[in-house]
């Protein structure tokens, strides 16, 4: 069997184009009650006394304090804290079926979790996971959560189990990890995470930025814009490790969701992966198929940030190449709310696109991957629907 056979998942048809947003950010700080209430007293005190190194400022200050869109600021001057404001600004106006919450903040604040007491790091990840469930999912049943695990600390699989088997188990629809870490992803130390994902049949996702090691193979960048412009370097390192280590032969049901890491690089990079394999097959006797086949079968991608070719008329060619290469059912709408480079469903998937493509990207592909049925009669108006 192949894991692409997801046809059993229910997809509502109707006159509307159902919308699922697969990248939506709560941005609480560890000191905010929604997180702090889940932290043991010991670590609350520790944080107030010693702080958290990676919080506040950063080595390349972003253009806005929370890298946010200005209109997402709440009455208290904060961003990503109030689930109701988020619903009002995004879920309601676009009549979404669901939004999948991702909180890379967890690994940003803990710098991957490696430079603080182990128990503090794991408590923090736990507290964030609880906040997503108990503050966000509880506030609106359209929210789904990610279990964020510290990539380089042991015990990620136990956190997945705790979340999946807890009261909000059904709300946790994926696992989230930093795209970079101390070791390439295919290495053995990460296998228990893969196993847990397979076990609960939920995707493993990655979202920028990469925390844990240098952000490039040649040192650190000096500018926020530079890191942003080179986010594409992260998947280029992540994909070959997973494929060439044979992870997908060992975990044939593993599904990988690449969030905010672009998708227009995928087809050209698959050519390079295949060319590499042709030239260096001798080194990789364990690989059973061409790299591009693993890529097609095991990877999903999100739309934001919308690819902006130099001329608008090139956009069709970009989508066309991706679809012709076998990824038509692999692209999912994401807004990245409340960040400054947020896209609405109308930007990511223009109305000028064929309806079938809009339907797939806006909701169907995510519905199948995450097993979230699209709500009847919700979403964007369909041009052909009555």
């Amino acid at each position: 069997m192949t894991i692409t056979d997801l046809s059993a998942a229910p997809v509502a048809t109707g006159s509307k184009l159902g919308v699922i947003d697969v990248d939506f950010h709560p941005m609480p700080l560890p000191t905010d009650p929604q997180v702090a209430d889940h932290l043991p007293q010991q670590w609350k005190e520790y944080i107030s006394r010693y702080g958290l190194g990676a919080m506040g400022g950063g080595v390349y200050p972003s253009q806005r304090e929370f890298t946010h869109r200005l209109d997402a600021v709440d009455d208290n001057g904060r961003v990503g804290l109030d689930p109701h404001l988020a619903v009002e600004q995004v879920l309601a106006p676009f009549d979404m079926t669901a939004a999948v919450l991702t909180c890379p903040q967890t690994y940003i604040i803990t710098n991957g979790g490696a430079n603080m007491p182990h128990k503090l790091a794991t408590s923090l990840y736990r507290a964030y996971n609880n906040a997503l469930a108990e503050t966000w999912c509880a506030a609106d049943d359209r929210f789904r959560a990610s279990v964020t695990v510290a990539r380089d600390l042991p015990g990620g699989e136990r956190e997945i189990q705790r979340c999946k088997e807890g009261k909000f188990g059904d709300k946790f629809v994926q696992v989230l990890m930093s795209p970079s870490g101390q070791d390439p992803l295919g290495k053995r130390r990460y296998w228990p995470i893969f196993e847990a994902c397979e076990n609960y049949d939920i995707p493993l996702s990655f979202h920028v930025p990469g925390m844990g090691r240098q952000p490039t193979g040649a040192g650190r960048q000096n500018f926020y814009a530079e890191t942003h412009a080179a986010f594409g370097v992260l998947p280029l390192a992540l994909v070959p490790s997973l494929i060439f280590e044979g992870v997908f032969d060992r975990f044939p049901k593993l599904k990988i969701a690449m969030l905010e890491m672009g998708w227009d690089w995928v087809a050209p990079y698959s050519w390079r992966l295949d060319a590499t394999w042709e030239k260096l097959r001798h080194e990789l006797p364990h690989l059973q198929r061409k790299p591009s086949e693993y890529l097609k079968e095991h990877f999903w991608f999100s739309t934001q940030p919308l690819e902006e070719p130099e001329r608008p008329d090139m956009l069709e060619g970009v989508f066309g190449m991706f679809e012709d290469s076998g990824f038509a059912d692999r692209l999912m709408f994401s807004s990245d709310y409340p960040h400054w480079d947020y896209d609405s469903p109308y930007e990511s998937v223009p109305e000028s696109f064929p309806e079938d493509r809009r339907r797939r990207i806006l909701g169907e592909n995510a519905s199948k991957l995450y097993g979230i049925p699209l709500r009847e009669n919700s979403g964007l108006p369909s041009p052909t629907g009555e």
């Binding site: 106006p93 608008p312 109308y346 930007e347």
Partner: protein, 188 residues
Amino acid sequence: MNEATASVKKPQKFVVARAEEIPPGSRLIVDVGGREVGIFNIKGSYYGMLNRCPHVGGPLSQGQLVNSVTATVPGKITLDESQDLLTCPWHNWEFDIKTGQSYWDPKHMRARPFTVNVEAGTDVAEQVDGGSVGRIKGPYQAETIEVSIESDYVVLSMRPQRPGTAAKPGACAPPPTATTEMKVEVRP
């Protein structure tokens, strides 16, 4: 619609607020017949900008006011405090508050600026009576502005100063509900 009806005097100028209601450093976003316009007081000079970014329609008038930053070579960054720019609250593109020109694409990309003047109450009252100046409800003002001759008024001209660039057609239109219900905030 024929020429005659088209030219029936709909006022092109609107009393927006009493001058002291928009002190230096503040702004007010007003609704003029369904079009939202940000009115800015920068160091005593008034500017107007359509609350819609030519990129993909972000609420431009809610953006940050900053000055122009340039550098001819790395290592020599200068701030030009005489050039005021409005940055879009979404993707942070910079627009000249006076001309609406986009900083990165001055040739092809323009936000929509409007002329804003301060006029004496006596003049304004006359024009209002004559029908050439309209009064509007500000989103935060319960009532239509009453013009009294003792005050100065901020008057917005909706005559196109220069055409702005339309947001990319079709591709990025925000949904109708978002436009009509969009909350407008006054950010001092």
